[in-house]
Symmetry: C2
Subunit: 140 residues, 2 copies
């Protein structure tokens, strides 16, 4: 890897500051609302594998209550990330699948997951070093 | 845009299921821990603009307490995302800057922010439609 290449990858992205409530809209708060919601992300990841019924989602996602899953799929449907299909059977069958917008978000979730895996060893080493040099910092 | 192209972009990413605590490690839980923490993301975004002192970070990020900022920069330093520099002045000056690992994460945060902005109109329209057709769903 050439020094020039290292220099390029070390550059942070060109991000607008967003620490103030009244800052110009940069999309970061939206991101935090969306990706910060663990259940939404887990439902999106599960649906990346294909359409699922409600019970299948509930079984696939440890610890999610029926009420929380109901709210989560409604929010995702409301945002246009998930499509709910009702089949005219008796009893009616319902399944959920990602819309094109929802599917596009999975690629970013995957990029983040890949980033985590790629940097896991470096982060673990950094934590080890930090804990050695700051034995008094209880921040875990 | 050709139908073939639409089909490709509509494909979700190839993500392992991760709804179970004991699922094979896919990085998603790490992502949720990291990006799910609003203060960490806001500090990283602020530092994308360059090195900052503690007080500068505190001023830049609305609503963060001194204790929460202390914890947040320590966690980021422990993870090797932020480097803390102490200058041998009297009184000592301290600043914080992104490491190469931290800088690489800003590109993903930016990709997420860009995704939000790109899809904002579609999402707003989906919400409008949903609220029209489900006036009884109070999920906001």
């Amino acid at each position: 890897m050439s020094p020039a290449h290292t220099e390029v990858t070390a550059q942070p992205a060109d991000l607008d500051p967003c620490g103030h409530e009244d800052h110009p809209d940069c999309g970061i708060r939206d991101v935090l609302d969306r990706i910060g919601d663990k259940w939404s992300v887990l439902v999106i990841v599960e649906l990346a594998g294909g359409p699922r019924r409600f019970r299948e989602l509930q079984r696939a996602i440890d610890g999610i209550s029926q009420r929380m899953l109901t709210l989560t799929v409604r929010r995702l449907e409301r945002d246009g990330l998930v499509h709910r299909t009702v089949y005219p059977t008796v009893p009616a069958q319902v399944d959920y699948r990602l819309t094109e917008t929802g599917a596009s978000l999975t690629h970013l979730v995957k990029a983040l997951a890949d980033w985590s895996l790629t940097h896991r060893a470096v982060i673990a080493e950094a934590r080890h070093q930090y804990d050695q040099t700051h034995p008094d910092h209880d921040i875990r």
